[in-house]
Symmetry: C2
Subunit: 339 residues, 2 copies
């Protein structure tokens, strides 16, 4: 999933220290030769083992605590879910980096460039296991724990299926917009949804309430991704901090590209430009063709549709005003950007 | 771990159909794009999806049922443990094959040669998840389930650490016998031990009894590996079905080689022969140097020591005669071969 901008609402940043401490504890149980490398992945130390501070934003764990708090439980009751989901996210990054040949993430060499692909497979496997243990050995109420584990494992499978689809698309001539949505639902949506559903479950929510909150999160993730795909081409470079030529220059098959590949005019042009680096000077021509094919409007429509679906879901929940305000601020955080 | 020979005792082969059926059920829940490939890995279908029968011997699941039965429970109460451990074993094979560049296993192309290394990473991750679910969603008694899960996850970590060590040894000049034992304990011992400990746990054994049985299994695994390493050089080709030049020709760093690398005479010779394919004609010279360095005796001593330690552990358990006979036949199966 793409990065969220700065300016997280208080409800997201409030418990960052508690989350970080719980994450550290999860990677320190039963010292293993993989514990040090896993701490490197989390941003706490360099390749030489020396301490450093470069952790991520921990959006997913924050959502788990928000969800626990929504139902009037102590937000920290969601910590085992928070830790599990963040470790799953990081295990998936370690494996994705091997699959995508990504050498650098947030300015640091990726695990597979430091330890080699074979050991990076082991490292991801190790963090996957620690994620499970963070929940199964948390000492939380057993019946809630079993339910949260079922949510987690379905989400992990959805995520893996999303990654499987993403790789399989590389060798395919045509991918439909529906298939693309299904893929990003796995890669971006389900872990966000699971953060909320698991947090709510540990916080004592009824199964149906937790599931509704989970679906809300999945939809927010889809809305966010549609917006991000739009901004990757039409965004304000000053606001996004990224060049808008980036997604096309990197030949990414984002939502507008997937849509326009089926267009009789834009399709052949994109194929030509994507197949030959020297054609990148035709960038403006590609953007014009995307617009003529309605790719920009499609992204905006999709984002609005997903955001509206998310809102409808929350409307169905019985919540007090404070809880509703909290969810609104989280929703705005994911879909805040003007487009 | 190396393969066990044929001639499994009845207690190992008795519930094969029930195990196979439970394994199939575990890979059929919530259909996923990875379910088909996972069934290929298990030997039930070809790459084209057509049914075939080529499943493994399912030693580990059988041990889980043996362990449940030992404490007078229905052996089938160990099924969730049996399925979990066999899926973990198979996930580890899929990832190991990528790491070791193994193209063929039991006469079939490995997953990474069929789907590519990126998708094989996903496939292993998927089977890892199904292993967890086989236990966490089994509906078995929750407190037993939580204990069995803790055993499973420690074993998975031990296995991953073993694989991490194995890969790290490749780039090292010297590896001690103790380090080698620690590595094979992870790669071969802990999953065998966990099969027994988890099965006993689900069958209602006390925590200390289950743990003792687990340590017994780990020791049996070590004894088995020491014997196998011995037979890889000094075994009777007719009995083992393998050429005894195999381990040396494939430049494997097995126990006798690890030991002899520290010997002032054998060490330099092995390094020379392992570094240069054309030196393989000096095979007989290498074997003589291994013997002069006491490498054959070391393997036999180690195997006996581990087998004796295993026997002592079982002796401490309170068991009826039938249970003791069962364990003896399993022990003999692992350490049966004359050497």
């Amino acid at each position: 999933m793409a990065s969220l901008g700065s300016g997280a609402p208080g409800v997201i940043s409030r418990h960052r220290d508690a989350i970080e401490e719980a994450l550290r504890a999860a990677l320190e149980i039963d010292e293993s030769p993989l514990a040090g490398p896993s701490r490197y992945v989390m941003g706490w130390q360099g390749t030489d083992g020396r301490p450093m501070e470069a952790g991520g934003k921990r959006i997913r764990p924050a959502l788990a605590l928000v969800a626990a708090g929504i139902f009037n439980a102590d937000p920290l009751s969601g910590l085992p879910a928070a830790v599990a989901i963040e470790l799953i996210h990081n295990f998936s990054l370690v494996h994705d980096e091997i699959q995508d040949h990504d050498d650098v993430r947030h300015g640091r060499p990726t695990a597979y460039t430091v330890w080699g692909p074979g050991q990076a497979i082991n490292l991801g496997d190790f963090m996957y296991g620690r994620a499970i243990r963070a929940l199964s050995e948390s000492g939380a109420d057993p019946s809630r724990c079993v339910r949260a584990m079922a949510v987690l494992m379905r989400a992990v499978e959805g995520m893996i299926a999303g990654q499987w689809r993403d790789i399989s698309f590389e060798s395919r001539e045509r991918v439909s917009v529906d298939e693309y949505i299904e893929m990003i639902e796995g890669k971006t949506g389900v872990l966000l949804g699971a953060s909320l559903e698991m947090g709510a479950t540990l916080g004592g929510a009824a199964e149906s309430e937790a599931a509704t909150l989970g679906r809300w999160g999945t939809r927010l993730g889809l809305a966010f991704q549609a917006i991000d795909d739009y901004l990757g081409i039409w965004g304000d470079e000053v606001l996004t901090g990224k060049t808008t030529t980036g997604d096309i220059a990197r030949r990414k098959k984002t939502l507008p590209i997937i849509h326009a590949l089926d267009d009789p005019l834009a399709g052949p042009l994109i194929r030509t430009v994507y197949a030959d680096e020297s054609q990148m000077e035709r960038y403006d021509e590609v953007v014009a063709a995307l617009e003529a094919a309605g790719a920009d409007a499609l992204c905006r429509d999709m984002a609005r549709r997903f955001a509206n679906e998310a809102e409808d879901m929350v409307a169905a929940l019985e919540l007090d005003d404070a809880a509703r305000d909290t969810l609104r601020s989280v929703g705005d955080y994911f879909c805040q950007r003007d487009f």
